[in-house]
Amino acid sequence: MELQERFEELKEQGLGAAAISYDSEEVLAAFASRKSITTLPLLSDDDSAAIKAFGIYNTVAEEGIGPNSDDPEVKLAVEKYVSVFGANPMIVGTPYPGTFIVDREGRVTARFFEEFYRERNTAANIMLKLGTPVSPIAGTQGETPHMKLNAYQSNPAITLGSRFHLGLEVTPAENMHVYAPGADDLGYRVIGLELNGTEFVRLLPVTYPASEIYHFEPLDERVPVYQDPFTLVQEVIIEGSPEAAEWLSTLDALTLTGRLDYQACTDVICFDPTSIPLTWSLTVDQLDRQRALAQPEE
């Protein structure tokens, strides 16, 4: 469980953590022992009382096995919120999966819920969004005459429905700047991270950090640039559809490729626009189908 792996890092950042499900203590004990979950509390809400009190009880799971179960709209809802394999009494009692971040007083400061039940933020992705430093997964380093590059990923391994991110740390060489969003209005080439499309892999818009204004005196232009080290972030969702599941089930690893386009300048010279190929290699974790406890005989 990734949250266990991040538990100490979260603690160092002052965040406690717990995972809540409707599983019995017995199931959680078996799961914890099998997955070596020693410090992260796995909480048993076996009558779903807390899940209901939080207001995130999955009512569609119940509806899917109720009198309207043949309603095409209910079937569609089941596919999205309950299971692509159809309704199942076993799923009744579960929440819509998601994460709350609260302050010391128990007030929500952030929350992460995805519409499709199979898609969810990795813990590392949540930490990024909270501005909490994540120990980076060793990336690929490179250097051009204009900058140093470090391509990293939030998670070494991904699985069906993972919402994670790829990062590119850029350190401009001394006296060098590259152009930030907004500079395109003045005719400059903004640094751009462009991933190649892969079926079943959804790319969110690249996130740029705040830039600074560079005053180019000869033209008296004020241009948004990056001169200090900065990071471009590409959020990625591995889709959770049955087709995506079939595709992913054949893979041990997933390579995502793309390129960085930029134009770098100093106070006196602008270099030709440059394009650098980039590669990220991710391990694919197949969904864990093993039960924590053997099912009782029917």
Binding site: A18, A19, K80, V108
Partner: protein, 66 residues
């Protein structure tokens, strides 16, 4: 009678809104409910017991068993 029930059915289908999961449960700025639940070792845990110096992350997941 048959026609009546069919039209009711389609009305029901049309009126079904998709669920906005982001609107469910406590929103940013709101307090979460209190809880007291046993962990995998049988120890009772509350928001206070899991709390860090700055706050806490509470993950709701579907199941550890399937």
């Amino acid at each position: 009678m048959m026609v009546f029930s069919l039209s009711l059915h389609s009305l029901h289908a049309q009126e079904r809104d998709s669920i906005d999961v982001s609107a469910l449960g406590p929103q940013v700025g709101e307090l979460i409910p209190t809880f007291s639940l046993p962990d995998q070792n049988g120890t009772m845990q509350t928001l206070e017991s899991i709390m860090g110096e700055r706050g806490a992350l509470i993950l709701f997941h579907r199941s550890a068993n399937w």
